[in-house]
Symmetry: D4
Subunit: 160 residues, 8 copies
């Protein structure tokens, strides 16, 4: 797949928005010595190209009472059920990430819960989906890194 | 730990910002029939309470040439080295998530890379950190869910 | 969940009862320079608060011919059967502990038996419960520590 | 090893003390139509024979803020270090049970902690003992059975 | 279970028969300075006590074209099928040993075969028994020790 | 490797000796309608060809107080130590069988012991051999088959 | 099975053809100082003996867009289905190698695919074969050696 | 990486050469109704583009006395040793394939040997390489598929 070509200006715009998505375009324009209109056009272009697909708030889940994180590996009976199982998983809001994977698991999920007991209930929801015959859970004792900014900076340096 | 109490207004503000972090406060104010100043105060309060810790762009990594995702379990020699190893891992931008975990691994990472060969290089960087004596990799064949919005909505309903 | 607040007197009473559950309240009263009535009231209060839920004899199982200890991991077909399986496990007196667990097993049990042959029969009882499709056994070669007193002392120091 | 022979009276005395260790001997005597002195003599005899080795309070650890239970398998470098490692483990009050086992682990422990973070610290204490090169943790989602009374009743019926 | 008491003479008789089962009783008698009749009586007594249950030729399986040895772990669906499965296994002459075991396997077998292809056929016979749902094979590269004489000598020294 | 050719007479002689190693040659001769000398010559020939390498008593280990059987998988640091480790294992009389194997273990042993505690000591002896860094034990709950006669009969039918 | 005897001339012919299958027989003849007819006769003889069974082009799969290599272990329900499953696997052109194996897998395959997504589809084809209940995938990060020439040279030296 | 574009003629030439590498170009030319020179040019072009990298004889290893196939997973101490270990592996002619892999092994090899004993020696060679601390072997009971022709045909259809 051909890579979208970002130039130095795109790169600097993204760099600022990554640090703070709400940075006003006029601030970006001033810093880069371009017009706010140009910032607007560039961002629009990156959105239309599907590079920027949205923005999200970063919340402190611990403060919100959701400090329990676990990874759950899911085994399913037949891979023809994968799509069906994923649809059912998507109905459990406490599953924030799910991947079809190689290795021992068919699907690998990340869940956030309030505590051990809540996690048990979420895991049981996964276990009870038709086609799932086993799950295996690995509990996070500490979320040490959760940061895509370093990756994004690295990608921009690589792309320019 | 005492949970921060969010009221219905906070909840609705967050709901709108979660959908689009860049939504102007005036739009939010109009929709909720409150003043833009109130929106501003509420957001500020949630930032000061540490509930909102920032915002991030959602980029399409595939479009940027980084479609390869893998989970890497890291075994370390002595847990007293955990902090040191995590500091070294934090210097590898392609590791976007890292957890100290129970179960067979000491540290569990998520990496994004360009392709198989790039992934190999990233895994080798992990393997070569002092104190790491083995890694085990599980490759994602498809990222089916990566969405914290459902969780956030669920939390707000739970909190109100 | 709010922790029940124990004061220094409660702590000292528990400390003595932990060493010997049958210590007469008059002995405790004399040692703590309080009235036996106070001891009685405090113990009653801790019972009503559900802190003290009972007392048990410590027997030497080896002397009673039950020196064989094993841990048995139980896999069940669907977690919706967990409650049913636990009820059936509860009917086997040789299972003294059972936990719903994360990781590879659904339920994890501790059993005490007379010898290898008796253990085999107990494991077969577990294996034959409807909904159980496999068990995996780890045999204890020596029970080196089985003592909650150190924990209780630690908790009291922590709570005061 | 020869089993100690308990007669029907011993059995009934134990049965009552197991239900409540603090049952007064006079109550037991009245129920069994024997003298309180006989109860006293029988209990003493069972203590001297090492059958009864003590008594312990049953506390609700959840109420005390210690609701987190985990099983930790410990691998050690050389079995000649087993005694040394067990001595060090015995200094960690949050380890309530430890067994030398067959199977994949050298030592298998049960720990009680306040929460995920506290559990991490306890596991790190185990990991940092000299001679320990790895631990593997399985977290309890629910303690469904913890009851030796059924076993004791079963033993007494078996012995008589 | 009470151990049968062997005296020094029994021990010396067994020691000689273990080295060579066909040693004439007159040779044993001469060496031990007892009568051949005594040897006969002692051996008979040990046979009647069930200590000696038979004798077997030691053949060189490699010379007979059966040099391929493997251990096969057998998983069965329900332990209630164990007896049935063992009866079926007993009809496969290439299985020389079978144990009901703890750990991951339900039954653990030793097989001798002519070569890789023959071993495959024997393993397939095991796999096709009703109630067996998986087998796992570990192949011997060299039979380094197969000798119970050292054990027997050790037992006799221990018993005397 | 060329197989030694046994004829029908050899086969019938072996068949009788396998059932009872002490069967007098005259009995065999009478049954097969040949001379005792012929039996003697044939047995001698099979001994010289290395087909018959000896004979052993079959003892009831349970009756001798050795009813505990376990399989122990041994991991060694470097395969160059295999010969050294095997020599050390050969000095432990309670190890009756040892194989160099494929799969997860380097060496796989069968041990016989008196009970759980004795087994622990034997396993510790294995663990303490230089070059051994781990062992893993699987305990036999029941020795269901231990019989090479079926194999031998099968081989003879195959060879003729 | 008796080995076919190759002489020094056969060996040298094979050595040259192994380096380049298209080497004209006249070139081989000139180099070995024999007639082209002899080369022809020898090659024909080795073909008739089934030693040479064909020849194949070595293509660069990466250049052809097939750089993704994975090993897939296949578990099947009953070994009686092995032949059926292999026939189905043979219909998937992306499976280039398949073995019936000992150890944890029943069948072990090597696949070549275009990329992660294509590999997922190939794995799903395997998973969906009747009788297959699980697969486990190991992805190649680099094909470091793929060369049978060294083996062939070694065999020829061994055979001569 | 841009794919080399093969046209229908290239495809048909490869199709014929794949079936038999030694097919004379004149035969190919006649069948495709083009000149032998064109065949020559096309093949040359594909060789220069690195699509065709050579050709190899297909030999029957069983007939040559090498019917024993095993897969060996290699664990190495530090991935910085990977290149060194691969160089040493490349000196063992019985290793025909080696991959750097994800999952539990660092390097995964395919070996061909004469028999069990020879395989043991080859595995020991791998185990004794500096930096290798363990290997794990899976033995092939039957090579059911080893055929890249189906893949090549599939690729050509895909490319045209």
């Amino acid at each position: 797949m051909a890579k979208f070509k970002l130039d130095e200006v795109d790169h600097q715009i993204l760099d600022m928005l990554i640090e703070n998505t709400r940075t006003p375009f006029t601030d970006i324009a001033k810093k880069l010595l371009i017009s706010a209109g140009t910032v607007h056009v560039r961002v629009k272009k990156m959105e239309e190209a599907g590079i920027i697909t949205g923005s999200s708030l970063t919340l402190d889940y611990g403060k919100l009472g959701y400090s329990f994180i676990a990874y759950v590996g899911v085994y399913i009976n037949k891979t023809s059920q994968t799509t069906f199982v994923l649809e059912r998983i998507a109905q459990i809001p406490f599953v924030t990430v799910a991947h079809v994977t190689t290795g021992k698991f068919n699907i690998f999920c990340k869940i956030r819960a309030r505590d051990t007991n809540h996690a048990k209930n979420v895991i049981f929801l996964l276990d009870d989906i038709d086609g799932v015959y086993r799950t295996e859970t690995m509990i996070s004792l500490e979320e040490s890194i959760n940061d895509k900014k370093r990756l994004m900076h690295s990608i921009f340096q690589d792309l320019v």
